[in-house]
Symmetry: C2
Subunit: 216 residues, 2 copies
């Protein structure tokens, strides 16, 4: 019996993965309200019965998509910075990494859309948002102590407003260009943040970093 | 016959207004995808037949809400600045005006939600977004020429990124606090923008303006 269990588990994991990917495609395309369980089953290539074995409701599927989005995005934030990189450079690289996911990974695209749009899912996603703010604040704390970054705001508020800024520009980019101009608008965001946060004598170097990270 | 026409027109306008307000409440509460024509009719206190006389589809109602949102918001942007106010102060006041609408006016709340969430409505709302960017750019152009504002970005890009920044912080405020902290997060945004855009010798004055506008 133990011998038969392994392939069953594999199949089960495969089914869940297919539902997640299918659901992400549907949520990304039409949003939560317009999505139905039958659309998700069809997109996943999984029978509704088999889907129901793993997920009891549309909400449960959406929460699984949000969880998976964060499982994929958080490693980008927590990636080891190169030893020579400043905190500023690390944050610029993180924003580029998340931008790539936003352009290429349906689960990340769907997760962000769900978290921002659907009030009933926001309790779940608020925790992840706070994790992003906290990690960013920790990095900024170090940079402010070292004098690398200077701001009139306390680091907690600075982290929060930077995450809000990123959220807004990626969303406008989605609404106006389907994220085709995402890298360009992120460069513009970093130019404003450079002017705001980097002491004048190091601003030119910081702008060069922004250009280099988003050119690559 | 002319005598009877006036009240009929009045009734018609009243019905359309009731549908707009009812639809805005529904769209704001549940989003576009979850909203139905029967929910809108019930919320408006208008029969479905009477509603259908004015609006043929949910999409048509949503577009009317977006139009009405902009009819209400654009005057805030175009309000005559006080003669002594800088461009910076004017923009801070405009952001406070829109923030008030976002907290109090269901049509504005619903319009923004629809424009950001619903791909099928984005062609319509893109025009209004561009109007906001263009008006902001025009104001910034003047301020940059006068040396009031200094930026590494061209004014068109600066206007776009500022609208994106505002969009993001108001959205995070909706998601995390139901917009209870909206004024606080806008103050934080303006602190970052002050550091980024206002020459150092006038920064203290600018920060005082931000504090005053959002305290009032």
């Amino acid at each position: 019996m133990a011998v038969r269990r392994v392939p069953q588990q594999d199949r089960s994991i495969e089914t869940q993965r297919a539902v997640l990917e299918g659901a992400a495609a549907v949520f990304h395309r039409v949003g939560y309200g317009n999505a139905s369980l039958s659309m998700i089953a069809e997109e996943s290539g999984v029978s509704q019965g088999s889907m129901y074995f793993h997920f009891k409701s549309k909400e449960q599927i959406a929460l699984a998509v949000i969880n998976e989005q964060h499982a994929r995005s958080l490693p980008v934030l927590h990636a080891d910075p190169s030893p020579s990189a400043s905190v500023f450079e690390h944050l610029v690289r993180v924003s580029r990494g998340v931008a790539e996911q936003l352009r290429e990974d349906t689960v990340v695209q769907a997760g962000i859309r769900l978290a921002l749009e659907e009030d009933s899912l926001q309790e779940e996603s608020a925790g992840f948002y706070e994790a992003w703010v906290a990690s960013t604040a920790e990095l900024l704390e170090h940079a402010v102590t070292e004098g690398e970054i200077v701001s009139s705001l306390p680091v907690a508020a600075l982290a929060r407003t930077m995450i809000g800024y990123f959220t807004g520009v990626q969303l406008m980019s989605r609404a106006t260009s389907g994220r085709a101009d995402l890298f360009a608008v992120l460069v513009q965001m970093w130019v404003v943040l450079t002017d705001a946060l980097i002491p004048e004598e190091r601003r030119k170097t910081a702008l060069a970093v922004v250009g280099e990270v988003f050119a690559a």
